[in-house]
Amino acid sequence: MNDRIRILADELANNPVSLCFVELGALLRKIGDLTGAERVLAGGVARHPGHVEARSLYGEVLLDRGKLRDAFREWSEVVETEPRDVGARKGLGYLFYKGGQLDEALEHLEMALSIAPMDQQVRQAYSRIRKELESEETAASAAPRGAGDMMLADSRGRPLTGGLVTDGRDVSEEVAAYLVGVSDEAARSARMLKLGNWIWITTESGNGCLHISKPTDDSTLVLMGGPGVRPAEVEMRAESAAKTAKDWMDDSRVD
């Protein structure tokens, strides 16, 4: 790789208008020479402002260098010239996501997906941001008493929406991972002891209570009550939250 870099650098030195700067910039980035890559690409795009691929790559190098504002400017200009540039759309999607502007991020990723529907990276980013957006909406509607005490998890041990916070620490993922085992064991115990289907589990300990239920076959809802909260109160809230969760799950399902 270093030989190739040397050849390209020589060529560029002899012929500064050569388009080999794109390959050289990409190789320098690959070997971790971000400063070199930025310098070569900055020079190149200044000479060839219409070279969309080079500018998209330049945006990536700027992002690597932590120059988010510059990367944003570069990619914005790229999509003005070429609205179908997937790299720039991905980059803008990421920058908006970092800035907490989920709607805008989604818009760029939607565009990227329409151009490259099989791009796994885009698909994953898109579905993650969509879920986050939806979870914000659900948490807002289902948890009027504030976030951090209610979570819906899927049947594979992952949080779907909402979240659990204990002593300022997000415990959602850990709890979600164990919920699958609880739910499976509850179903088995109820069946084998001839108690029919299980409806919910409530636990009480020194630091509070948990209420676990299954709003749908493929989800588990858990509500957490602090030390002063009565289990019966959590149980009542769980009932209405289960209804909301069921509706949300039904709406989210792709036919």
């Binding site: 659990l164 204990t166 002593d167 620490r169 415990v171 850990e174 709890v175 991972a177 164990y178 919920l179 085992g181 609880v182 064991e185 509850a186 088995r188 115990s189 109820a190 084998m192 002891l193 001839k194 108690l195 029919g196 289907n197 299980w198 409806i199 919910w200 589990i201 409530t202 636990t203 009480e204 300990s205 020194g206 630091n207 509070g208 209570c209 948990l210 676990i212 858990v222 957490m224």
Partner: protein, 118 residues
Amino acid sequence: MTAVSINFDRLLGRVTGIRGVVGAVVLDAEDGLVIAESILGGIRVNAVAALAASMYRRVSHTTKAAGHGPPDFVQLQAENGVLIALPGSCGTILAVIGELDLNIGLVKIELNKILVRQ
């Protein structure tokens, strides 16, 4: 009969005397094996012990992950009845099977009294 088993028998007698309680089992929390039992026919005693221990263990993982520590009381509510698990002394669990309309509040009060007196 040993002193320990006499205590368990007395405890089980009092628990099964509570209205709506169908049966009760004292079990080893780690092994899930029966230590003492008082249960009506038709229910597999060893199933109650093994499953209650397993459920208590799995629920404990969850409550610990949530920062709540091990549970003092676990209630599984099902369509046709209730399974309750409470940790006892020396690594035991008391599992109680109750009817659907079991008065949980009363059960808790009674169990507290019984467990304190043991």
